[in-house]
């Protein structure tokens, strides 16, 4: 449990904001795919912490980035926090995406909506290993496609929007790169229907695939048993056995 200081609260548009958090102490080691549980102070309408995936860690500046979509009262309260305020976090929580050992691996990172958040950190970590990856990012509209510049520093960026305001029109699984490429591994994070479609594509092409689930949680560290998903091992906690699962473990 750590108190981090809000260095910047950057409103990206009316739905999304980026919290840049700092600390006087060195931030702990964090892995791509892991998440934090943020306590929402001064929020009588909410009760529990909010699980938020790690968007990026800048170890040089000792910064943790959280890309957050306003979906309810808790995230709305967080969107109001000001520079200099302290936020109480449990971190890092959960497992992580696997990093291939072969540097010539062909990897696709598929994100939808705010689900793109952990893929930036994953892309940066893959880059450190010398792997350049393809990002396929989708959103309902142009406003849902965020951090495109940051993503482009770590790989090739392909985009889709449902209303054709940016990139190819349609869902991520309609994108033309899926027709012309063979990947060794696909990572995905986003709405469940999107991840299921990505998983179906991966299965049809016999490609390894890891997805990051975001079931509702009470604790985030395996005590409450509320966030379970049905797996080949029965009900398992998304917070401790996940949030990242190889699709072969899920009953999808």
């Amino acid at each position: 449990m750590l108190d981090l200081i809000v260095k910047e609260n950057r409103q990206l548009n009316d739905q999304y904001f980026l919290l840049i958090l700092g600390s006087l102490d060195k931030l702990p080691e964090m892995l791509p795919g892991q998440f934090v549980e943020v306590r929402v102070d001064n929020s009588p309408e909410t009760f529990l912490r909010r699980p938020i995936s790690i968007n990026f860690v800048d170890y040089q500046k000792n910064e943790l980035w959280l890309l957050i979509q306003i979906v309810g009262e808790g995230t709305r309260k967080l969107s109001l926090c000001k520079q200099g305020e302290l936020l109480n976090l449990l971190l890092p929580l959960g497992n992580s995406f696997s990093i291939p050992s072969k540097t010539d691996s062909k990897l696709l990172l598929v994100g939808g909506g705010v689900g793109i958040a952990p893929l930036l950190f994953l892309g940066s970590k893959l880059n450190e290993k010398g792997i350049v990856c393809d990002f396929l990012l989708g959103g309902r509209s142009k406003d849902n496609l965020l951090q495109l510049k940051e993503f482009s520093t770590y790989g090739n960026v392909y985009t889709t929007t449902e209303d054709a305001t940016f990139g190819e029109k349609g869902f991520v699984t309609n994108h033309s790169i899926l027709k012309s490429n063979n990947y060794d591994l696909i990572y995905s994070c986003g709405p469940t229907p999107m991840m299921k479609a990505v998983a179906a594509y991966a299965k049809s092409t016999n490609t390894e695939c890891e997805v990051s689930l975001e079931n509702t949680m009470a604790c985030g560290f395996g005590a409450c048993l509320c966030c379970v998903t049905d797996s080949t091992d029965g009900h398992v906690c998304v917070c401790t056995e996940g949030p990242v699962f190889n699709i072969s473990k899920l009953k999808w």
């Binding site: 306590r39 604790c219 005590a223 509320c226 966030c227």
Partner: protein, 303 residues
Amino acid sequence: MVDLKVKLGRMELKNPVMTASGTFGYGTEYQDFIDLSRIGGIVVKGTTLRERQGNAYPRMAETPSGMLNAVGLQNKGVEYFINNIYPGIKQFETEIFVNVSGSTIEDYIITAEMLNDLDKIPGIELNISCPNVKEGGMAFGTSCLSAAQVVKAVRRVYTKEIMVKLSPNVTDISDIAMAVEAEGADSISLINTLLGMAINVEKRIPVLSTVTGGLSGPAVKPVALRMVWQVAKAVKVPVVGMGGIMNATDAIEFLLAGASAIQIGTANFIDPTVSIKVLDGIEDYLKRHKFGSVKDIIGALEV
């Protein structure tokens, strides 16, 4: 020095702060956050004779000042507990109680019998109050007759401390408390969760897969406190109070109402270090009011 020790039936706890079943895993989940040896006792996750997968997701709904859960006693069964979990937790320097649940009286008997042999488990918490399992759990705890039957049957085979956990979903909780006391309960803990529900209005469906679930958190505290006060007056055995305790002041309210010890539940999810804060807060309170022992405030409510 303030004396924090309390008596619980035939045993003594180093202090009155315990953690509630289903909110504290097996203690191991909290080892990174707190020094477990500081707390008075841990009640580990509800354990049944056979493995249970629990209910389907979604199992949780956030509510005003609380939450609903419908976990449904997910656990790997008593044999797994004995062989795989117990060896890893028996060295904890705190009293470990196992919460025992069953669908039949026979289940309760066999499970309790198997746990009786574990040296480092001084007692069980007999759960006759889980609202999230179809047959069993709460069904036993909502009538004096069936509550008494379970306690009587387990008392025959279990020689150590039996704490009986009561359901608040009854007309008169004192009657149930007296019934289980008469059959040999060493202590009584209350309250389990209050039956509730939540609806997703956009989809016009229940939020929980089971439709109803158990409400916990500060929303239930006034109800819990009232019931602890009633039960403490009705029985001679020690009472362990719980329901929405978030801080030391809440805990002290329960002690004043007559609880010999308290359990912290849902608050652990939001602040995994809360049990230590509650313990420190109780000690500060006793010093501030110049009490030499925590026993001085148990049931000290002036009405």
